[in-house]
């Protein structure tokens, strides 16, 4: 059993604080994804868990040990690096067996473990090649193989897919998920790609500027973002945010368009807010949006369309802000055409205009 618990973990590089007192507990077997924009401290956090970076404050606990002062080799973790960091002077076989070799395990045990890992990752035909003779995807698999050979308590992944092309990335994403189901080890996975985060995670940890902004299941953070940052970061396309003011229970957008305040949100008169609506919740009338009791309607000129096959993204301008809407069972739309859109208010959000905090209780 290896839970991972971070308590008030901080990291300073000299005077520069890059991770501010993070608290996070991860239970055994969980797949946790740290996600956030570039430079928010994801890698640094992961490297502190790995022992590659000194911890400036707080404690990191793996299993029931506080590991702050343990070197990486005593933490029983393995890590997959963004650039794979395969040992170029060793064959794939030697790369896979290196950790067991260092641990002075008997040769037949090493052979067996290497063969098993190679089997899981379909590396068997490549065992005698060197990393230089492998494709990007194959290198990536070797890096994963090297991580699983030793049955660690925790896997750490630092953007393992970011060097692959889009198609391979989707494929490896599935493999990683399958691997997790097979070995059931705790995984902490860093990415700045919210799609990876959504598809892989049991729980997502959203970071920004060295703080944790929100922790939750993928659906949680998608449906109940705690602030405007999470709302725009998670989900594709990002949630539309429109500045608005509250008057007599009505939202007034910048161009005097009014609509009811979304149900379930209470907000006092005169408050400046941002009205948040995802593309999935603003669709042209008659385009298969599940009917709800709380609909608002607006007319909006379409400026651009992006056909995606089963659906089409519509770009329009509403109250001076660019808005993305969605059209299921698409039909051709000419730029400039004004359509009547329905907004499913019960799926919409309000955020404080200044702090960005969600006003949903």
């Amino acid at each position: 059993m290896a839970d991972v618990v971070l308590k008030g973990v901080q990291k300073n590089f000299g005077a520069l604080a890059v991770v501010h007192a993070i608290d996070l507990s991860i239970v055994h077997g969980e797949f946790v994804v740290l996600v956030g924009p570039s430079g928010c401290g994801k890698s640094t956090t992961l490297r502190m868990i790995a022992g590659l970076e000194d911890i400036s404050g707080g404690t990191v606990q793996i299993g029931d040990r506080v590991v702050n002062d343990l070197p990486p080799r005593d933490r029983n973790i393995s890590m997959v690096f963004q650039n794979y960091a395969l040992y170029p002077h060793m064959t794939v076989r030697e790369n896979l067996g290196f950790s067991l070799h260092i641990a002075k395990r008997p040769k037949d045990e090493i052979d067996k473990a290497v063969a098993a890992a190679a089997e899981i990752l379909s590396l068997t035909p490549l065992l005698d090649r060197r990393p230089g003779q492998l494709s990007g995807g194959q290198r990536q698999r070797v890096a994963m193989g090297r991580a699983i050979v030793r049955h660690p308590d925790v896997f750490l992944f630092d953007e393992p897919l970011s060097n692959l092309d889009a198609k391979l990335r989707t494929q490896m994403r599935v493999e990683i998920k399958r691997l997790h189901q097979k070995v059931g080890t705790t995984i902490i996975y860093v990415t700045h790609d919210q799609v990876e985060a959504m598809t892989l995670a049991d729980r997502i940890v959203i970071m920004r500027d060295g703080h944790i902004v929100q922790i939750g299941t993928p659906l949680d953070v998608f449906e109940r973002p705690m602030n405007a940052f999470v709302a725009t970061f998670i989900g594709s396309p990002p949630m539309n945010l429109l500045p608005a003011t509250v008057h007599d229970g009505q939202l007034r957008l910048a161009d005097e368009t009014t609509m009811p305040v979304p149900p379930g949100i209470s907000v006092r008169n005169g408050r400046h807010v941002q009205f948040g609506v995802r593309a999935d919740n603003i669709m042209p009338d008659g385009h298969a949006m599940p009917p709800t009791a709380h609909m608002a309607h607006v007319d909006m000129p379409v400026t651009l369309t992006e056909p995606l096959g089963t659906e089409t993204l519509l770009f329009g301008t509403l109250a001076g802000t660019e808005v993305q809407a969605k059209m299921l069972n698409p039909r051709p739309v000419k730029p400039g055409e004004v359509l009547r859109f329905g907004i499913a208010l019960d799926k919409c959000h309000l955020f404080d205009a200044e702090t960005g905090a969600s006003l949903r209780a």
Partner: protein, 288 residues
């Protein structure tokens, strides 16, 4: 004209020109060496002939025989010089490499205050011509009583080579991504093991070339050695070459013969180590 044919001819001509150019360049580089080798095998008369004789009429081993012969008959203590050279060059190379590895690694991996300045000053030491150092060194060594010792020569050559080995090896370690050592540490290595099992083998092509460089510098060095050695105790082969000069004559043939003996180990070593210089091995561990 048929354009495919034209292109083919053009390619052939370019290739021929390429080879010709290389041939000229290589001749310029190799000719003096060939001349030395040639002269070591032919009689003095032919060496001194004017106009020069290009195609030798007679090749023999007279100069070699004489060189290894008794002291009175133009012989020189080749073996002693050779051993001196070898001991001094090898030892100083190994030390310079060890220091270079420690220093280069530290420069490549750790934040060192004033790194740039230290680096520049290391390089500046190399800008001082060796001869300019010979008198101060001579006086210093005289006081210390280490003139004409292996130790003294090794010390000089280590000092001469260390700036360069540090500089070269720093460059090679810089090219080894630090994630390799980190991965090794996670795989169970200590810092020390991570260095020897991963970083060192990956950088060894570079370290080997630094080694060749240091060895050849010491092996060929003359200016300082001619001041700081004086007897069979420590005279190296380049200094030994001067045994062939006397007040009025120069034994060119003998000198060339000794020079050939000097070149052979250097060539051998270069070939042996070159095997390690195949850089292709070191790439591909990381996706760059």
């Amino acid at each position: 004209m048929d354009s495919a044919l034209f292109h083919r001819i053009r390619r052939r001509v370019l290739k021929a020109a390429h080879f010709f150019g290389l041939f000229v360049a290589m001749s310029l580089i190799c000719l003096p060496g060939l001349w030395v080798v040639l002269n070591s095998f032919r009689p003095t008369v032919e060496i001194m002939a004017k106009p020069p004789v290009w195609i030798p009429n007679e090749l023999n081993l007279d100069h070699y025989r004489a060189m290894f012969g008794g002291i009175g008959e133009g012989g020189v203590p080749v073996l002693t010089y050779f051993v001196n050279s070898l001991v001094i060059s090898l030892t100083s190379t190994i030390i310079a490499l060890l220091v270079g590895m420690a220093g280069g690694y530290a420069f490549a991996r750790y934040r060192i205050p004033g790194k740039g300045a230290i680096f520049v000053s290391l390089m500046v030491t190399r800008a001082v011509p060796g001869v300019a150092l010979s008198l101060p060194l001579f006086i210093l060594y005289g006081r210390l009583g280490i003139i004409d010792t292996h130790f003294g020569m090794i010390l000089v050559y280590v000092a001469l080579n260390v700036p360069f080995t540090i500089w070269l090896i720093d460059g090679f370690f810089r090219q080894v991504p630090k994630e390799l050592a980190e991965a090794a540490e996670i795989d169970g290595c200590t810092r020390w093991q991570a260095f020897w099992k991963v970083e060192f083998p990956v950088a060894r092509a570079g370290i080997a070339s630094a080694g060749i460089f240091a060895f050849l510098t010491s092996w060929n060095e003359y200016a300082l050695a001619s001041q700081l050695t004086r007897s069979l105790n420590s005279k190296t082969m380049p200094v030994g070459l001067m045994d062939f000069t006397s007040q009025f004559t120069l034994n060119w043939g003998g000198m060339c013969a000794l020079a050939v003996l000097m070149i052979i180990p250097a060539l051998l070593l270069t070939f042996l180590v070159q095997k390690h210089l195949i850089a292709g091995l070191t790439f591909g561990g990381v996706k760059g």
